[in-house]
């Protein structure tokens, strides 16, 4: 009973109640997050393959192997950043356009809003499979349409850049509604009178957008960009379902690289090292992004 007494002595009643409330969450977090991360971290310093499960300690050798891997440096990292940049920029632009269009009242506004939000409810894997069939070179609807319009059918997923474009397209399709939803909420929370003042001041719609809407919406935009960038960095499912990283690893993103190394080539050591490297990269990128965008916001205020 001594630990009970110790608990009672060191914490007040309210604190003990709070500890009780967070205990389940902490337990789950430790068991399913902290422990696996620790195991993964430990594995990244070992030579651990399914064919050679001795788990010899090798220090930073696995990290060096990842960072000197031409596939990682020349394909995976550029791909990941390019994907992140393209997906976030395009979704932000279209999401903003949609939000602006939805922000003015019109007939059937609610219906249109609901329909636009549907992609948010589609599982990414399903969306990816859908897209894969649409762009299938023999049976896909895209080629059919292209042919009726007099174009040449293409093997979309065989070429690196068209496959990459389809991945970005799928991701944008999934995430534009999310941007639209958040930006719309932001737009609707903006005070009306500066816009009325601008209307009376004779401001063109473009100047209103450029000098009022964007600056006033900046906090929301920053949060959207940071969240989505970090999220896009670890995209796995749609790439896996669309191309599996192919053709010939040409569309491989960082998460696919880590997964394949660990669970396809069964090199747990190197896979863990890749995963942790990626984790560190996105940590730095996320912080930098937040710093830069927040600085932009402060300067403009």
């Amino acid at each position: 009973m001594s630990w009970r007494n110790a608990l009672r002595n060191s914490f007040g009643e309210q604190q003990r109640f709070m500890l009780l409330l967070i205990a389940p969450a902490v337990t789950l977090l430790v068991l399913f997050q902290a422990v696996p991360i620790f195991i993964g971290g430990s594995a990244s310093f070992r030579d651990w393959m399914l064919t050679n499960p001795k788990k010899t300690w090798v220090g930073l050798a696995q990290y060096i192997s990842v960072l000197t891997d031409p596939a990682f440096l020349e394909i995976v990292l550029p791909n990941t950043f390019l994907f992140m940049f393209a997906s976030v920029t395009i979704s932000l632009a279209f999401g903003m356009a949609l939000a602006l269009a939805l922000n003015r009242p019109f007939r059937a506004q609610k219906v249109v809003q609901t329909i636009l939000l549907l992609p948010l409810m589609v599982a990414p894997v399903i969306a990816a499979i859908m897209m894969r069939w649409m762009f299938n070179d023999q049976f896909g609807i895209v080629n059919v349409v292209l042919e009726t319009l007099g174009g040449e059918p293409r093997a979309w997923l065989v070429d690196r850049w068209s496959a990459f474009a389809i991945i970005v397209l799928t991701d944008c399709w999934l995430w534009i509604p999310w941007f639209a939803l958040l930006l719309l909420a932001g737009l609707q929370s903006l005070p009306k009178s500066p816009f009325e003042a601008a209307a009376i001041d004779g401001t063109t719609p473009w100047r209103v957008f450029r000098h009022l809407t964007v600056p006033m919406l900046r906090p929301v935009i920053i949060v959207c960009i940071v969240i989505r960038s970090i999220d896009a960095f670890r995209t796995f499912d749609i790439v896996w379902a669309l191309t599996g990283g192919g053709p010939a690893r040409q569309t491989e993103l960082f998460s696919i690289y880590a997964y394949e190394t660990a669970f396809v080539f069964l090199d747990f050591g190197k896979g863990s090292a890749a995963a942790i490297t990626g984790g560190l990269i996105i940590l730095v990128v996320g912080l930098l992004l937040y710093r830069i965008l927040d600085h932009v916001r402060k300067v403009s205020l």
């Binding site: 009178s193 601008a198 209307a199 009376i200 001041d201 401001t203 063109t204 000098h211 600056p215 205020l301």
Partner: protein, 364 residues
């Protein structure tokens, strides 16, 4: 010339709410009009329709002879000051002032000149590089005024611009707006719910209620000759006292009488009130017209003092006679009175107001 003419102006919100009803109003060139009334009376809606921020359900608005019904706000050449200032928070004061001119692609040199001029008038010189949230409420409202001045529009519109300021600042800004008016005479419409602002600023005061214009006249007209009971009660502070009185003829005079009060009708109202002989009307007396224990004017009755409010410059008395309660203002602060005292009230008979109990319009 920038005369504003409103003809049969109406505004419905949906099927039910009729915010503005058949407003006919002509605002002369360089005239300063105040729209006043309780909240929901349609004054702000009327202003916003003139600005073009609100669609017109029916009727016409002409500014300087041009029909503007379907013109967007930017083509009406009006400027507006908002209750919450509506400054562009992320821009400096200078950029706020320059924004409207840059919209019109005015050369920067001219913009600078216009802003320097406005800054001189409003004393904004040192604040140019500040952001609006670094300014006090009064300074922000001055910037908002400046934003209007630099554009040199045909019409100034004010939507309760002083309501967000504290009482002292409000009085200061009121004077400043008057001063501004003298330097930059422009046709102006000023919306307020404060009758003091309406009276002090307006060349003419438009009193509104339930979407209708109740009365439109100079401050002296709406105070001295209110068109109906609502205007009489709304204009003036403290509010006019009202009570029902019977009218009867006696010795060639008309007498307005209740069990507790009795007043002689002056020559001014005699003709109009003759028709009411033997019937009941509503009598209105302004608190400031009542005199205590005066010997030189007609006494109307005795009342008991319930509450005394000593203001230093005057005393306000809440008095009672039977079931009538009456407020008395402008009582000499040196007058030795105490709660419970019975005093004699009197009032010059030409300062009585009579209203039809049915329609509430003035009898005169």
């Amino acid at each position: 010339m920038s005369e504003i003419v409103l003809t049969k102006l109406n505004k419905h919100y949906g099927g039910m709410h009729h915010a503005v009803r058949n407003i006919d109003l002509t605002i002369g060139d360089k005239e300063f009009i105040t729209l006043v009334g309780p909240s929901g009376c349609g004054k702000s809606t009327t202003l916003r329709m003139i600005a073009g921020l609100e669609e017109i359900t029916s009727g016409e608005i002409r500014i300087g002879g041009t029909l503007v019904n379907h013109l967007p706000p930017r083509d009406r050449d009006v400027a507006m000051v908002f209750q919450n200032y509506a400054l562009y928070q992320h821009m400096s004061v200078f950029d706020n002032l320059a924004f409207g001119l840059r919209n019109k692609k005015v050369p920067e040199a001219e913009i600078k000149k216009a802003i320097r001029n406005a800054a001189d008038i409003l004393g904004l010189g040192e604040l140019m590089q500040r952001k609006p949230r670094q300014l006090s409420g009064g300074q922000q409202q001055r910037v908002a005024l400046g934003r209007c001045i630099v554009r040199n529009p045909k019409v100034f519109l004010f939507d309760e611009p002083l309501s967000n300021l504290d009482a002292k600042l409000r009085i200061q800004m009121r004077v400043e707006i008057k001063r501004l008016r003298a330097r930059v005479p422009t046709t102006s419409v000023f919306v307020t719910h404060d009758q003091v602002e309406a009276m002090t600023l307006g060349d003419r005061v438009v009193v509104m209620k339930d979407g209708y214009i109740q009365q439109c006249g100079t401050p002296l007209q709406v105070y001295g000759e209110p068109a109906n009971k609502f205007v009489a009660g709304f204009i003036g502070s403290p509010s006019m006292n009202f009570f029902e009185v019977g009218i009867h003829a006696q010795d060639g005079e008309l007498i307005a009488q209740t069990p507790f009060l009795r007043a002689r009708v002056s020559e001014r109202y005699k003709a109009a009130l003759a028709a009411w002989n033997g019937r009941t009307v509503i009598l209105g007396v302004r608190p400031e017209h009542l005199r205590v224990n005066a010997s030189d004017v007609d006494p109307i009755g005795k009342v008991e003092i319930e509450v005394i409010e000593q203001l230093g410059s005057e005393i306000l008395l809440e008095t009672r006679a039977g079931d009538l309660s009456m407020t008395v203002a402008r009582v000499n602060p040196q007058l030795p009175v105490a709660a419970g005292d019975v005093i004699q009230l009197s009032v010059p008979s030409d300062q009585l107001h009579f209203f039809d109990p049915e329609t509430e319009s003035a009898i005169r």
